[in-house]
Symmetry: C2
Subunit: 413 residues, 2 copies
Amino acid sequence: MQKITSGASVKLTGKLTKSAGEGQEWDFNVKELEILGLCDPAAYPIQKKTHTHEHLRANAHLRPRTDETSAMLRTRALLSRAICDYFDSEQFIQVHPPLITSNDTEGAGETFRVIPASEPPEPELSALDVSTPGGKPEFFGVPAHLSVSAQLHLEALSHSLSRVYTLAPSFRAERSQTNRHLAEFWMLEAELQLSTPSLGPVLDVVEGCLRSIFDAYTRSTDAMVRFPEAKAARHALESEWRRMSYTHALEELNIAHDQGVFIKPTGKGKGKDIVPRPVWGQGLRSEHERYLARDVPIFVTDYPADIKPFYMRLNEETSTPPTVACFDLLLPGLGELVGGSVREERLDYLDAALKQRGMDLDELAWYRDLRMYGASPHGGFGLGFERLVSFVTGLENVRECIAFPRAFGRMKV
Amino acid sequence: MQKITSGASVKLTGKLTKSAGEGQEWDFNVKELEILGLCDPAAYPIQKKTHTHEHLRANAHLRPRTDETSAMLRTRALLSRAICDYFDSEQFIQVHPPLITSNDTEGAGETFRVIPASEPPEPELSALDVSTPGGKPEFFGVPAHLSVSAQLHLEALSHSLSRVYTLAPSFRAERSQTNRHLAEFWMLEAELQLSTPSLGPVLDVVEGCLRSIFDAYTRSTDAMVRFPEAKAARHALESEWRRMSYTHALEELNIAHDQGVFIKPTGKGKGKDIVPRPVWGQGLRSEHERYLARDVPIFVTDYPADIKPFYMRLNEETSTPPTVACFDLLLPGLGELVGGSVREERLDYLDAALKQRGMDLDELAWYRDLRMYGASPHGGFGLGFERLVSFVTGLENVRECIAFPRAFGRMKV
């Protein structure tokens, strides 16, 4: 007789009835059993014993069959649904910006290039009017990249549809192999028109969206979906979220430094491990971010203009050096989940920011057009979907938060 | 005084009241008007007069401000929502397969390659164990492509979650510039486990999904969403859809040929334009597809194995030459909208199909694993989202059915 082992496929025919016993809702009385596909236990890479995450990643095509990964996948579906429900109820329109693009939003250079796998046949070369350096014709006439953010295109769409959002892949050619970075990750991005150029309404949408998502997650009764504790989401739901400017955050951090919070004795008489004090004008260290978000979620706003991208709106008050109307949302135990800003809608300010960064105004001509023709105050944000999955499930590595992770040197399936 | 012209942004403050008059639901009594951004009518590329589609495509960042494009964008959102509603109600799980992949599902070679925009710094070269031809290190260790279909990964996920779907971008490096092809397009793909390896349940899902979408579209009362007629969707809803094998379709076509359907007089005494009769073993000509779908939607099933990809399931009946359990759904006025099949779950049959096509078994080792370990009957399909948008809106060119179209030589914004 053939032996049914873990991993085999069977077809069961029988009767499903409400369970009389405790601990389960249904009974299934099997009348017929048909073996569809056997599974050799000696060869099958997924055994009943606990595997390392590395082993499972190397078998990404079979990993969904484990309880942890299938629960994670069901969680992604639940979160996706909650996102759409929230934005639809708030009159946002779901849109589909392009993933192949000619611009690199952050100007950071960590992008992927897109080229056709095969060279075009000779007669077609001349048919396409291209003049790129190196003499090779570009498929799209200009160098094509994979999108690092849909923001600029969302801004264009927002000038028509007012409130827009998208949940779609983004790409960064990062060569670091951390548990927080993927080369291909999903991002929720939203953009909305504002009646005045202030950050408040943008933060309200971020907080409203996340509370709505956490609510859906903690209310789910599907044992196959929810990671048992859901502690992080529940705690965030019950908390009052803070909003604090970068400058005030530095004051709070300096007080903590005075109190010795960042001086930690290291073992074996090696002395003390001291985190340097924050310096106005520099980004926040992860230790400082962790401290600011130690208890409850916190929006840190109005960072120095010099460390932020060209598209963020310069604040009116004449602080020297200047700040921009932007924010990071930091969550307890996770760090940054969301980043966003009011966008610079004033053409003269935008041009000054571009020039200061040595960027080409002509390359962003279409983006400047949005300010030229009917400029209006607007803002938006981006949320890393796998980090959200990590936060609610407690799976620490984002590679465990997506079905087929893509990172430097790791594509196996 | 400043002049408000088409394209300008204004902020209106006032009172919204139920309209007493006819023809509109609301009145807005403006108390204050503030100009946010003016728009120079001499320079603004979007005038009140009707523009050509070419002109609007060249101004894709402003095109969403036209009635036609904003209605199309709202339609995309409505259709996306209807898709999720249908699949969620049918216990499908929404999943997010990778867009960067090492395989080329169709084996057609019309793919995009993905490479990092910048070379890695020297020290990192040696850190990554790569050995690709040409000596250049691959970011992912193997050549990376943009996905032409999520099918193979969906099959892996379906072996865990049973019923899965995704709405995500796909990419084809097609150099043809037709009104039916984009280099980047969105695709609905679904995969489901079957209790027997038959096509019927797959067709039921396709028809159920589309009827549900058409129903949502025709029921929408939002004037900003729906293109006025919605004739095509309404007609499809009211029709009984046909299901017919390729072999029977050829019989029907031959009868039509006998009746002279495909002989058309061409003007000015130039004689007659004759469509060649169909030949068993070859694909269907577009004229023949149009005829088959002249009145109602039709599923054409069971095509010859030789003209179909390796993964389609060989039919049991010993027809010579053999056919596979696949289908195309043809819609009146549109042609092919959906293609799908039962997948070959028998490892020996799969291997024979791969070998016959000269394909490398090792490259698809992970896909073969799905048959090695607990094989089970399953099937699925792919639906071109922009073609669906084209069908319901009546916008003939798919470039008018997506916000920022990507095609050979055409990326402007």
